[in-house]
């Protein structure tokens, strides 16, 4: 599997080992970490959830596309789900290649596509006590029905 989920800390040494290849002259990796701020709010932890059946298929398609587009040897992406603390690693991408240029390009392609296409959601919890689904701020901007509902999209005031 070239895209997978884990509920526990990502083992980067093990993941890197899956990319070893006698024909590879180097390897590029990207680690996404939980940051303590987003859009002016102090973040204290994150929750990730995924629609895993489809997410794994779409993630595999992205890595396969990267392997077709860039002449690299191996590529792998691991995404964590569950509750993450500050500085925890949320996602890891690794690419091994004969030469460095295409390894950087393929790594960048994979993380960018994963962020845009794979059904994974991130809920931020803030120091203020609020929480919110990332990228969902505008989701409640113009509900088409007339009656009122509590805004269940971010930021949610508790």
């Amino acid at each position: 599997m070239r895209f997978r989920f884990t509920q526990t800390a990502i083992d980067t040494a093990e993941a890197r080992g899956e990319l070893l290849d006698l024909g590879a002259g180097g390897y590029v990796s990207f680690e996404g970490w939980v940051r303590d701020h987003n859009e002016g709010q102090d973040v204290i932890r994150l929750e990730y959830e995924a629609f895993q059946e489809l997410a794994v298929k779409e993630g595999e398609r992205i890595v396969a596309e990267a392997l077709r587009r860039f002449p690299v040897r191996h590529a792998l992406c691991i995404h964590r789900v569950g509750t993450l603390a500050l500085s925890d690693m949320a996602v890891w991408v690794g690419v091994s290649s004969a030469h460095r240029g295409e390894a950087f390009d393929a790594c960048r392609f994979i993380i960018d596509e994963v962020k845009h296409r794979v059904p994974i959601w991130k809920k931020e919890h803030y120091r203020s006590g609020d929480s919110g689904w990332v990228n969902c701020e505008r989701c409640a901007a113009a509900p088409h029905h007339g009656h009122h509902h509590e805004p269940a999209v971010s930021p949610v005031h508790k």
């Binding site: 059904p119 994974i120 990228n135 969902c136």
Partner: protein
């Protein structure tokens, strides 16, 4: 016909459940979302969502069959 609907993230919170089975005459995912937006008061419009049927991305106009599993996909935020 009976459909299975699974909810994630903001959809799960607004529906107050992670899945349900529903008896419906909705012919397409678009029709189904029209029913569910009334039933659960979802704040997202169809234009803000994608839809999956049986764990694969689908058109909103795909004909639904009994037993299909439908997931509405709010804006994603991996990484």
């Amino acid at each position: 016909m009976q459909l299975k609907i699974q909810y994630y993230a903001v959809m799960r919170e607004q529906a107050g459940r992670s899945e349900e089975s529903l008896e419906t005459s909705a012919a397409t995912p678009a029709d189904l979302y029209g029913e569910l937006i009334v039933r659960h008061g979802f704040t997202l419009t169809r234009e803000q969502l994608k839809v999956a049927v049986n764990s694969e991305f689908s058109d909103w106009s795909r004909p639904l069959s009994a037993g299909d599993a439908v997931v509405f996909i709010p804006p994603v935020a991996g990484g």
